[in-house]
């Protein structure tokens, strides 16, 4: 692992109206790391990713990606990042062919070249037969595969993945995990957000836990385990987010059901 920082975040703060969602994030991410970015709902995970991508304005703090200060208005760094959004809100009236060639062309690929590439990637993931069908007619898994393809089609250096495995079958999950491993071996950096702790525990080289707009833990799984004296990432997560009432809530839930 190199020590070259690809993403530097300094004192990142962000508010939606009176609600402060990010309360000063400081982070340095190095080339070749797989960052497991975890936290409860509403902790500010998606907001961080959206700020890094330039989708959201109005934050304070300094962010530099691949040596470029993103606040300066430059967009060159966006050529080198790929993004799988959590919610599948894309222009799904288009066909995969139309969507992928559009994105590829904007990234500077040639139309013919991106067409061939997209077709090849679709066929490797087993969805080549819907290449010319509207994305809206896809199943959840097909859509997820398409999003993954659209995020890597320009061969980016940094990948932001938000629940990239949702809707995929077990075999596809294995393929995607292997793809991620090989990308990391090539020196790419992956920023991985998920709620599925088992996966994060296995694939991440560094885990960052964010709670209430602040980083509450940062380190490899082994380091976190030592610090918190817990066996699994799930338990670490519960401990650090101060949540230990799952049993009581579940019990009450059942009592309410039985009452009917």
């Amino acid at each position: 692992m190199s020590t070259e920082a690809v993403i530097t975040i300094k004192d990142l703060k962000m508010s939606y109206g009176p609600k402060q969602v990010l309360k000063g994030i400081n982070l340095e991410i190095y080339r070749g790391q797989v960052i497991g970015y975890i936290g409860p709902n509403g902790a500010g995970k998606s907001t961080t990713v959206k700020i890094l991508l330039g989708l959201v304005d109005g934050y304070s703090g300094a962010i530099s990606i691949l040596g470029e200060d993103i606040d300066k208005g430059g967009v060159a760094y966006k050529r080198k990042i790929g993004y799988v959004p959590e919610t599948v809100e894309i222009y799904d009236n288009l066909t995969a062919y139309e969507y992928l060639t559009f994105i590829g062309e904007v990234y500077g690929l040639d139309l013919k070249q991106v067409d061939d590439k997209a077709k090849k990637l679709m066929s490797l993931l087993g969805i080549e037969e819907v290449y010319h069908s509207r994305i809206s007619s896809y199943s959840k898994g097909m859509k997820q595969k398409l999003l993954i393809i659209s995020s890597v089609i320009h061969n980016p250096d940094i990948l932001f993945l938000d629940e990239p495995l949702s809707g995929l079958d077990a075999n596809s999950v294995m393929i995607v995990k292997e793809i991620l491993a090989e990308l990391v071996a090539l020196g790419k950096t992956i920023f991985y957000s998920s709620h599925i702790m088992d996966v994060v525990e296995k694939i991440s080289s560094r885990i960052i836990l964010i709670n209430d707009g602040q980083i509450v833990a940062d380190g490899s799984f082994v380091e976190l385990k030592e610090k918190s004296k817990q066996g699994s990432l799930e338990q670490i997560f519960n401990q650090l987010t101060g949540f230990n009432k799952h049993k009581e809530i579940a019990h009450e839930f059942i009592t309410e059901l039985q009452g009917v």
């Binding site: 139309e98 994105i103 990234y107 139309l111």
Partner: protein
């Protein structure tokens, strides 16, 4: 939850449902939810205007149908034989109601979601189907009552009580006929097409429906001048093929006591066919239909190599017009978006159709009622009637703001995630794509309509009008707020702001006036063309300077 008065009427028939083994209480609840959802849907008749208040949209659409119904009353007063008159009325009712059923209630007929929700609960399929059928019939009868109601009431006063009873009975038969017609249409479509293609077909029906309504209004005022007063009619064999004739025959038979074999046979057809179709529909079609509905949710597999080579060709072609590569990309992106975004098409295409046909309609209105067609044609070709193309210019230019909205507007994050320095290339690229693919072909089509009348002398005029259109488009583009294409929801208000509407109207009037004064003064015309060309070109060139901060 609101209580619907329709349900109280259905309560009267609850006995029949119970006899058929339907769980009436459950069915009533399903219906209540379905009717509630109907109220929240924005109907296709109103989709082109963009409504903010969803709750009122449903009532407004009923008002629109009611207005159509009032127009049908005109037929009752036409000085024509009763048989022809009723033929027209019935024909219009069948046509409009069937169109409405296809355009508005495809969601009801083609609903596949309700099964996964309802059948997983302890509800038997008989109850679910009964609810679906009742829902469809409620919709159908509501439209028929609203559209035919005015004719029914006016007919009662003009032709008497017997007419009222007869029309009422006929309407029930007609509703069965239409129900069969529309389901048969869907059934047929499902046999050959998968879900997406069927949705496209329904979308085109909705577009045509809106266009027919818009164009129809242009003719209503002149309907009396179309009527040939000395017209004597004889029943021909082909009238047996017209469903409207079956339903019109009884009126002539009963009210005018015309005993004619043909009229009797026609009336019998009008009675037998719908009854037979009702039986067929409930016995066979529904089950078959439901079985084929699964196709709706299936992703189609298509191989379309030609699409890929065509995209390459267009990219090359457009590169001559647009030197900027990014603009070229967004130009083709916008074209793909417009051609596949159904709700956008529903808002856009009827307007484009109107732009294409309005000058023609004006010409037809001029021709109708004159003694000789040749005479009026030569009259037209000697006057500056090509100036009516400015109407096309007006409608086409105003339509460019429609491109901001889309049903999938949430997908607009992609613009910001992509490495784009200046959003100017997005906005101008999309605009160019729209103008190239839609506005220019329609403009050329309209010009083609006028060339037989004026011949080669039309060329400088259509060139000038074309340049004026480009000028107006770029003016609207520069003056309207900088919204990214397809980034606003469909319900976010009217597509054209009042300012743009009035401004375009003023622009078109002034340019048409200027054009009119210069029409025979060729040097002036040429100077005008050059000036407009230079201004337009400068404005187009300078229009891509937009920063991300300007974008709203």
């Amino acid at each position: 939850m609101p209580e619907f008065s329709v349900l109280k009427i259905i309560d009267l028939f609850s006995f029949f449902y119970r006899v058929m083994g339907v769980n009436y209480a459950v069915m009533r609840q399903i219906l209540q939810i379905k009717l509630l959802m109907d109220r929240r849907r924005v109907p296709a008749v109103l989709a082109s205007s963009g409504h903010k208040n969803e709750a009122n949209a449903f009532n407004k659409s009923l008002l629109t149908y009611g207005f159509i119904g009032i127009i049908f009353v005109i037929f009752i007063f036409l000085p024509l034989p009763l048989f022809i008159k009723m033929n027209l009325t019935m024909g219009m009712i069948i046509f409009m109601v069937a169109m409405t059923m296809v355009a508005e209630f495809s969601t009801v007929l083609l609903d596949t979601k309700d099964k996964t929700i309802l059948l997983s609960k302890p509800i038997d399929s008989r109850t679910v189907n009964a609810a679906k059928m009742t829902h469809i019939i409620i919709n159908l009868l509501t439209i028929i009552v609203v559209m035919a109601g005015p004719s029914l009431v006016v007919g009662l006063f003009v032709h008497g009580f017997l007419f009222f009873v007869l029309l009422f009975g006929e309407l029930l038969l007609v509703s069965g006929f239409i129900l069969f017609l529309t389901s048969f249409f869907y059934f047929f479509m499902l046999l050959f097409f998968d879900g997406d293609r069927l949705r496209d077909v329904i979308n085109y029906f909705q577009v045509v429906f809106s266009l027919v309504m818009m164009v129809g209004y242009q003719f209503i005022g002149r309907i009396y001048s179309f009527v040939d007063y000395d017209f004597v009619f004889v029943i021909k064999w082909w009238m047996y093929l017209l469903p409207s004739a079956w339903f019109a025959a009884p009126f002539s038979l009963v009210l005018e006591s015309k005993v004619d074999d043909h009229l009797v046979y026609l009336s019998l057809l009008g009675l037998l066919v719908p009854v037979l179709l009702w039986v067929l529909y409930f016995k066979f079609a529904t089950g078959y239909f439901e079985k084929n509905l699964y196709k709706l949710d299936r992703a189609a597999t298509r191989k379309r190599k030609t699409l890929e080579s065509r995209a390459l060709k267009y990219k090359k072609l457009y590169s001559y017009i647009m030197p900027d590569t990014s603009e070229n990309i967004f130009c083709r992106f916008a074209q793909n978006m417009i051609s596949s975004e159904r709700s956008l098409k529903l808002r856009l295409f009827p307007n484009l159709g109107l732009a294409a046909f309005l000058p023609l309609i004006m010409l037809i209105n001029l021709l109708v009622g004159t003694d000789s067609v040749n005479q009026s044609l030569s009259y037209i070709s000697h006057g500056p009637f090509y100036l009516s193309i400015y109407i096309t210019v007006f409608i086409l230019s105003a339509s460019i703001t429609t491109m901001n909205s889309s049903e999938m507007y949430k997908g607009a994050w992609i613009y910001k995630a992509l490495p784009i320095e200046s959003p100017g290339v997005i906005l101008r690229g999309a605009l160019t794509g729209f103008v190239l693919k839609y506005l220019i072909p329609i403009y050329l089509f309209v010009c083609l309509l006028f060339t037989p009348l004026y011949g080669i002398s039309l060329v400088p005029h259509i060139l000038l009008i074309f340049l004026n259109m480009l000028l107006l488009i770029i003016l609207i583009f520069r003056m309207s707020p900088k919204e990214l294409p397809f980034s606003k929801g469909m319900q976010s208000g009217r597509s054209v702001s009042l300012g743009i509407f009035l401004g375009s109207l003023v622009f078109c009037s002034i340019t048409a006036g200027l054009h009119y004064t210069l029409q025979d003064f060729y040097i002036g015309l040429i100077i005008y063309i050059i000036v407009v060309f230079l201004v337009t070109a400068t404005l187009w060139k300078a229009s891509a300077k937009i920063t991300w901060k300007d974008v709203v």
